[in-house]
Symmetry: C2
């Protein structure tokens, strides 16, 4: 076994498993089946690009260690990246993969659940986790007819909400990478340069990282809507060259051991019209008002309210949340899907919660976006990056 790869001490993983068990007890769940790759990593360390096939981590009420279940060729990856003992690494044969034989990985998972003695117990599943498909659930129900299934979606995500100091340190390392990549991107944007070239430079920096350490792949690719497309936040780059008069929004995240530190800034190619400057000022003011509002005991919706109140002074309003809890993640998302900074979310902030706050204002022909990743401290909020908050002109 090769546990030097683990970014945390074993006792930290054990703490996470116990915190998960506490929640399982609250929900009277006897066995929890986890397919979310971030949750699998959080509890066992497992890290590999193998989530394109079904895989699972099982936490049982009475077991000591989690059980990893995956494809045969990934069992070595589990040995290399997790703290689990050999008996808790269970692999299914390759004829279960995209199978023409009516075999499904969940047939094997169901068998393991039975062997562990939980086939007729209350079994929690993450009903809205990305890779836990309708068919995966059907197969489990079919093979475990005596189990009582309950929705345990976001159960582990809730455990992830408050970070340890070591997790904060990894997000700080990711921040150094984010800042380097942002600077690379801003330097590369120029009239006539294709978007793909700027994206290439940004990617190079995201992965090469800093002098001290390299970067991991981010859960979301760098997004850089520009020109007419600043109102299409999830469009990826093309070969279009930047043109004079283009607003360009850059949203990216450095990543260390799967922990992210997203950062967004806006640039303008050429001389920005006065209204772009004005919009930038409003967004900067609104974001900082929201940051100032964040402290332990304040609710998620109160943070958003500080933003909303600020921009309302300028007769502006914006639908949609302005931020979300995040940290550990795999494609397609670094968000944790738990707490959001938006009306109706009454979660009270606690120290070491980490959010990505990304407000923006879009008009028909331009948009301005600015973001900060911040942690809640004992007395307020601390942003990870000190990258200048301004409209960058190129």
């Amino acid at each position: 076994m090769d546990n030097q790869m683990l970014p945390f001490e074993q006792k930290e993983y054990e703490r996470r498993v116990e915190a998960t068990r506490d929640r399982m007890r609250d929900e009277e769940i006897d066995a929890l089946l986890i397919e979310d790759p971030a949750n699998m990593n959080y509890l066992t360390g497992y890290d590999g690009w193998s989530f394109y096939v079904h895989q699972m981590v099982v936490i049982t009420r009475d077991g000591d260690e989690p059980v990893w279940i995956g494809r045969g060729q990934d069992a070595n990856g589990a040995r290399a990246t997790t703290w689990l003992s050999e008996e808790n690494i269970r692999a299914y044969s390759d004829d279960h993969v995209h199978s023409p034989y009516d075999k499904h990985p969940m047939d094997f998972v169901a068998k393991v659940v039975k062997e562990l003695g939980y086939g007729d117990q209350r079994v929690g599943v993450e009903k809205d986790a990305y890779f836990f498909t309708a068919k995966a659930y059907e197969r489990l129900q079919q093979h475990l007819p005596e189990a009582e299934f309950v929705d345990a979606d976001l159960l582990v995500n809730q455990v992830r909400l408050i970070k340890t100091d070591r997790e904060i340190d990894l997000i700080r390392e990711a921040t150094n990478i984010s800042e380097a990549a942002m600077q690379t991107g801003l330097d590369a944007i120029e009239e006539g340069v294709p978007e793909s070239e700027v994206a290439a430079d940004i990617y190079e920096t995201l992965i090469a990282g800093t002098e001290a350490y390299g970067g991991d792949y981010p859960a979301i690719v760098p997004l850089m809507p520009s020109g007419d497309h600043t109102g299409t936040p999830h469009l990826t780059w093309s070969d279009r060259p930047f043109a004079d008069g283009d607003p360009v929004i850059l949203e990216l995240a450095g990543c260390r051991h799967r922990y992210h530190s997203p950062l967004a800034r806006t640039a303008f190619v050429g001389d920005p019209p006065q209204e772009v400057h004005e919009t930038a000022e409003i967004v900067i003011e609104g974001l900082n008002a929201a940051l100032d509002a964040a402290e332990p005991g304040v609710t998620a919706e109160e943070v958003e309210e500080a933003w909303r109140t600020t921009i309302a002074k300028y007769d502006l309003e914006k639908e949609s949340r302005i931020g979300y809890s995040m940290g550990l993640g795999y494609p397609p998302d670094w968000g944790e899907h738990t707490v959001s900074l938006r009306p109706g979310d009454t979660t009270a902030l606690e120290p070491n919660m980490v959010f990505h706050m990304i407000p923006g204002i879009w008009f028909d022909d331009f948009g301005f976006e600015l973001s900060e990743t911040f942690r809640v401290t004992e007395t307020g909020a601390e942003r990870f990056s000190d990258f200048s908050q301004e409209l960058f002109t190129k």
Copy 2:
């Protein structure tokens, strides 16, 4: 609307929709709900990093155009990247996203299906598509109690199996990027250089592309298991420096308009032992035997058999498929999940099917892998890349 972004002519999309309808008729499906992002792109052109929230394309028995359903802030992306008319772009409000209000995007999808008049018809869903979760299906069933749901998993993927010449051209363009990135990677690998630095160089080339065009993000990150880890195919890079005596497997893919051309080669840092050379020769011989066997009418399992027979001469065997149909894709996979080159798959090859054949042999302390993306021609098989098939020493 801004349809210059479409990589295919509108009539090609219409052909794809009609081919999908043919299969729907065969299965007596009245409305097909598609959440696989590659299938959404295939039918409508939709391209954005928005698959981290639920979204859908609906094809109805009698409708003209597909209907795109997604998040409000992604509707502009649908306007920019699809050929659909405004009335067929339907957006749900942001309070459906990771909602604390017991709202789910499928509540909205169900409403649209009803409005289209298919709420009490046979509705096909892709039961094992990555982002079609157990909860998504439950919500649809709940809101469409009179619908009869049928499994339409891989229905559109089957339509994708045979490529048009334009699709082949895009895979050729992707191949030029793959070759450049492979050369970059091989040039960068050196004793003492961290894996992350090599990964950064590869990524830069994958996105910068060639003189003529840039690259898109690949559906799978470059994989580069090395040293002891050549038997862990899906481990991603770390900061470990390459060491003398390391075998290094590089698997990567250039991407153009979401079409991939994967390529894998193996390098060795320092002077490879004789057994590594011998293994390389066997894999090269086996792969080419399988390539030689591929032609129209030959079955997928017969192609694999040519590989298996070849390595058996050297008393070797290997469990698991050696290749799969592929092309268009989004993270986490470029594979199409239909035809595999393995025992039991009796699909007869047809011209313009495209496969990634990736056989390899792994021992305890090293592995050798080599891959080719190839298309079936009228008379045989043509590999896209002419990158040298050898053991690269560094």
